[in-house]
Amino acid sequence: MARSFPLRKSLLSLVFVSVALGMGGFTLSEIGRRHWRTQPTFALKARFAAVGGLEAGHRVRVQGIDAGVVRRIVAPGQPGAAVEVVMDVDQALRNLVRVDAVARIVSEGLVGARVVEITPGRPDAPALGGNPVIAAESIVAPSDLLNQAGRSLARIDEAATAARKALDQLATVAQAVNRGEGTLGKLIHDQELYNRLNQAAKDGDRALVDLDDNLQALKETWPVSRYFHRRAYLDRERLLYRPGAERSSRSLPAEDLFETGRAVLTPTGRARLDQVASWFKTVARRSSELVVASFTEGDPDPDRAEILTQEQADSVRDYLVTRHGVGSLGWFKSRKVAAVGFGAQAPQVADSSSFEQPPRRVEIIVFTPAREVR
């Protein structure tokens, strides 16, 4: 009962088989890809004290990126030895994993699957060599976490007990005060004592104000005033702010006057100051006052900057006074010549033109009362 070979059915079957095999092959290749069997990888080892249920097939991540799979776990040869975890890691990420990279085992998701998380090393650390082994961080077991939490709770409890004792003592003191016991209690409950204390405080305030006035008057009294005027210990900003006076100034870069970072005049600096003295004699009137102001910048220590500029201003002042007599107004009277170092902080009242001037500079400013100019 031989029948002819069914060609059409054979072709149909062949097509069906081919389609099914294609789907099966594609699925298998995708499964292989999920397990890093088809991509280029490199073997990486880490030795853990315990692996906490990690198994071959669990994922490996580098900086959170899905980067490989645990290929096998080698049990230790003797008690106390480490468990070696061999991983296949994406070859493309090899550059990220340096010799100081650290592997640790973490749990993820609802099902608690284990994942090896690799933290890449520092950028300046050497790259991995052949047969690389990286450091492993031991797993924190849930029981350890619970013990740690228990110890923390015990410490919190101790702190709470101590705080309660302190509060009880405070309450006892408060009750005593309320009853008017002790110095504080008497102070609170004795109105007369309070009034006397209040009056004493008012008297003290008044005495301080009087003392301040007296001191201010003393500063302005000759010959003490000369010291204060010379060092500009009076109101520093007030020195540069004279709304009722004409202002003429010369500004000299600090580099032209001094050696860098010092307050000693150079020969060039002396020559420049000689020119300034000549200019001063042309503009100065009898009631003119002279202010030498020094500024700097760039010193991180504000105290040191102020000392330097004060010394520089003093140097300029001394040179102008002793060499050119700018402070002399006859036998019994002298001109006010103040020297002040502002450090790196230019005062708010500085002339607007000073913004265009070099930051390291010495300004020689002549203030002439307006009535004398007219």
Binding site: S4, F5, F16, T27
Partner: protein, 265 residues
């Protein structure tokens, strides 16, 4: 008429075992001389059965997604659904469902076909001519079913994953790329290949037991219908029981196909 009256094969478990053994013995000769019959049966089982398998796969995948997504979403774990669905489908549901569809379709068809041959005395004629019934009728069908079911399983698995994706794209939030990348994460080749290949055993057992049911049918017209019903029932039971029996053997397979590794030091 009662089953076994034809006398073609023995009734009872012994008769089924004898038929299975005779079929096994006849396989090499059948593959050489009756390749055409095998192709005809394969085309009938696989190509004609692919439609129902495809529809069943899509429906099962979508239904499984819809049912489990709601439960997992309540616990914020819906992102794991593609992974679990793929494991369930490729490892167990797909192969078992393919076996059951074969049991329903081929079990009834083969039992009825054999019963009809008994009824119109074709079996008697073959026996009178000295033809080996196991080699001439049962073996080509058993071989065809054995080869067809793994391919049907592949189609069903793919359809179920596609059905899951259809449900995800209609009600879920995952993109196609994310769904696919999460689908096969939990699986290894060592899990999928044995699960798919075990369906060849289903094919062999369903064909053999359905043919045995038909050959033991009576000679009345009603007996043909009864043989078909018995063929389906027996095939379904055979699929369930053989699936259960094979599980420990599959799990005992060493990781030769990419299974899990745990090496001693």
């Amino acid at each position: 008429m009662r089953p076994g009256d034809s006398g073609a094969v023995g009734s009872g478990v012994g008769g089924l075992a004898r038929l299975g053994l005779a079929t096994c013995v006849a396989v090499p000769g059948v593959c050489l001389r009756r390749a055409g019959d095998i192709v005809r049966e394969f085309e009938w089982v696989a190509v004609h059965g692919s439609g129902v398998v495809l529809a069943a796969g899509v429906c099962v995948g979508a239904a499984a997604w819809l049912q489990t997504h709601r439960l997992l979403a309540q616990h914020g774990a819906e992102s794991t659904l593609p992974s679990f669905l793929a494991v369930a489908v490729l490892v167990e549901i797909g192969p078992l469902l393919a076996g059951l569809i074969l049991a329903g379709r081929a079990g009834a068809g083969l039992a009825a076909e054999m019963a009809a041959m008994v009824q119109n005395e074709e079996i008697d004629a073959r026996l009178a001519l000295g033809t080996n019934v196991a080699a001439g009728l049962v073996a080509p069908r058993a071989i065809a079913c054995m080869f067809a079911v793994p391919f049907l399983t592949i189609v069903l698995d793919a359809a179920a994953l596609g059905g899951g994706f259809l449900a995800e794209s209609s009600s879920g939030r995952a993109s196609a790329a994310l769904y696919w990348s999460k689908s096969l994460v939990f699986l290894e080749p060592g899990d999928v290949i044995p699960a798919t290949l075990k369906t060849a055993v289903f094919g062999w057992l369903v064909a053999t037991s359905a043919c045995w049911t038909g050959l033991n049918a009576g000679r009345s017209t009603q007996d043909v219908g009864r043989a078909a019903i018995r063929g389906v029932v027996l095939s379904v039971v055979v699929v369930f029981v053989s699936n259960l029996i094979m599980i420990p053997f599959i799990q005992a397979l060493p990781g030769v196909l990419g299974g899990r590794h745990f090496l001693p030091g």
